[in-house]
Symmetry: C2
C-alpha cells in the first residue's frame, strides 16, 4: 500500500500522540513501572503537574512540579488551562493543558499519573484519552508493601487501603488493567497498553460514517 | 514485589494464552500482516481451519487446512468440537476447538483469521477472546487493491466491496482497529494489539469481587 496521505483516508493512527491517563492505588508501584519507560522511549513523556504547595528541598521546579502561586493557579482554572485539578490539604494540584497538547502535537504519548477522581475529569474532557489502571497482584500484597515502607502508622495504612479499595472499585472506567506481579513483565505490559491505546475501537467511531459517505 | 504465586492473587496475566479473533475485508492484507509475526514470535500461532472442500494442488493437509470428509465435519459439529463454522458453496469451513485450546494451555496466543460472521460466533462462545479488525487506509485504497490484483471481474470486485462495507459496519464489535496504511507500522500495531489483548479491562471483571472478598 502507498505511504502517501490520501484525501479520503480514515483518521490516521500515527500523527498525533495519545493521551494516557495512568492510575492505581498508592503503593502499587506506578512510578517504578513508568519512569524507565519514559527514560527509554522518546515517544513517551510524563506530564508535570502544577501545585501551589511549597517545594520540598529535593524538588525541582518544572521537573517534579510546576510550583505556582495560588493566584496563578486560580487564573489557570478561570482560563480553562487546567485539564484536571483538585484541592488537597489546602493546596491545589492539577495538570496544565498546554504542555500536554504541545507534546501530543509533536506525536508523543503523554502520560498523566493522576488519581481516579482526576482521571474521571480527564476522561470527560478528553474522550480520546486512553485509561490504564495498575493493580497489585493481590490485596494482601498491597497491604504488605505499605507496611514494609515503614513510613506510616497503622492508622494511615488502614486509610490508604480503604482509598485503594474505593479506587479499585472504579477500575472498569479504565481501558486497560496492568497487574504489577513482577516489575519486568508489568513494565512490558504497560508499554504495550500505552502503544495499543490508539488502536482501541472507540477511537475510530467515525470510520463507518466515512465508509458510508464514500461508497 | 515477589514473583511467588499467592493464594489470593488476582487472575494472572501470563499463564494462559490469549485467543485473538482476526478479521478485515478481503484485500486488506490480513495474511501479509500476520504471517511474519507468526514466523518471528513463538508465542503467536495461527489456527488451521478444517474444511470439507477438496485440497488444491499446492495445499498441504494440516498446514493450509485440515481436510476432512463431510461425515467427519458433521460429527465434529455434533460433538461441539467446532468453535465456529459456516457453509459456503456447499462446503463446510470451521475452527476445530482442540488445537486452539491446546495452544492456549501452552501459553500461546492463538490467532483465528475468520470472517465477521464466524467472529461473532467465537465472541459469543468465548467471551475471553480479543477481537482485532484490520481496516484499509481508505475505501478507495481497498478498491484499487482489488482492481490491481487483476484476478476478478468488475462485477466480482463490486460484490467484494459490498461485503467489505457490510463487514466494516460491524467493526465496533471488535476491541482493536488496525489501519493497514503501511506494512511495517501496521505490523507493529497488530503485534501490539495481540499482546495488549489480555490487558483489556473486560477480562478482569472478577477483580472487584476478589477485592471485596478479601478486605
Amino acid at each position: 500500500m502507498s505511504n502517501q496521505p490520501e484525501q479520503n483516508a480514515w483518521r490516521p493512527q500515527k500523527p498525533r500522540g495519545q493521551l494516557i491517563v495512568y492510575s492505581g492505588p498508592s503503593g502499587v508501584g506506578k512510578g517504578t513501572l513508568l519512569r524507565p519507560l519514559v527514560a527509554e522511549h522518546r515517544d513517551i513523556v510524563m506530564s508535570v503537574s502544577a501545585t501551589t504547595r511549597a517545594p520540598r528541598p529535593e524538588e525541582r521546579d518544572g521537573v517534579d512540579y510546576h510550583f505556582v502561586t495560588r493566584e496563578q493557579f486560580e487564573r489557570f482554572i478561570a482560563d480553562g488551562e487546567m485539564l484536571e485539578y483538585a484541592e488537597y490539604n489546602g493546596n491545589y494540584y492539577g495538570t496544565p493543558r498546554r504542555f500536554v497538547s504541545e507534546q501530543l502535537d509533536l506525536g508523543r504519548n503523554v502520560v498523566l499519573e493522576i488519581e481516579v477522581k482526576g482521571a474521571m475529569q480527564v476522561k470527560k474532557a478528553c474522550p480520546s484519552a486512553v485509561l490504564v489502571f495498575v493493580m497489585p497482584p493481590s490485596y494482601n500484597e498491597l497491604r504488605e508493601r505499605l507496611i514494609n515502607r515503614h513510613t506510616e502508622s497503622e492508622e494511615q495504612i488502614k486509610k490508604r487501603l480503604e482509598v485503594a479499595v474505593e479506587e479499585i472499585r472504579q477500575f472498569h472506567e479504565y481501558d486497560f488493567v496492568v497487574i504489577n506481579d513482577n516489575l519486568e513483565d508489568a513494565r512490558d505490559r504497560l508499554l504495550c497498553a500505552i502503544r495499543a491505546g490508539r488502536l482501541v475501537t472507540r477511537f475510530h467511531e467515525n470510520l463507518i460514517e466515512e465508509v458510508l459517505e464514500l461508497c
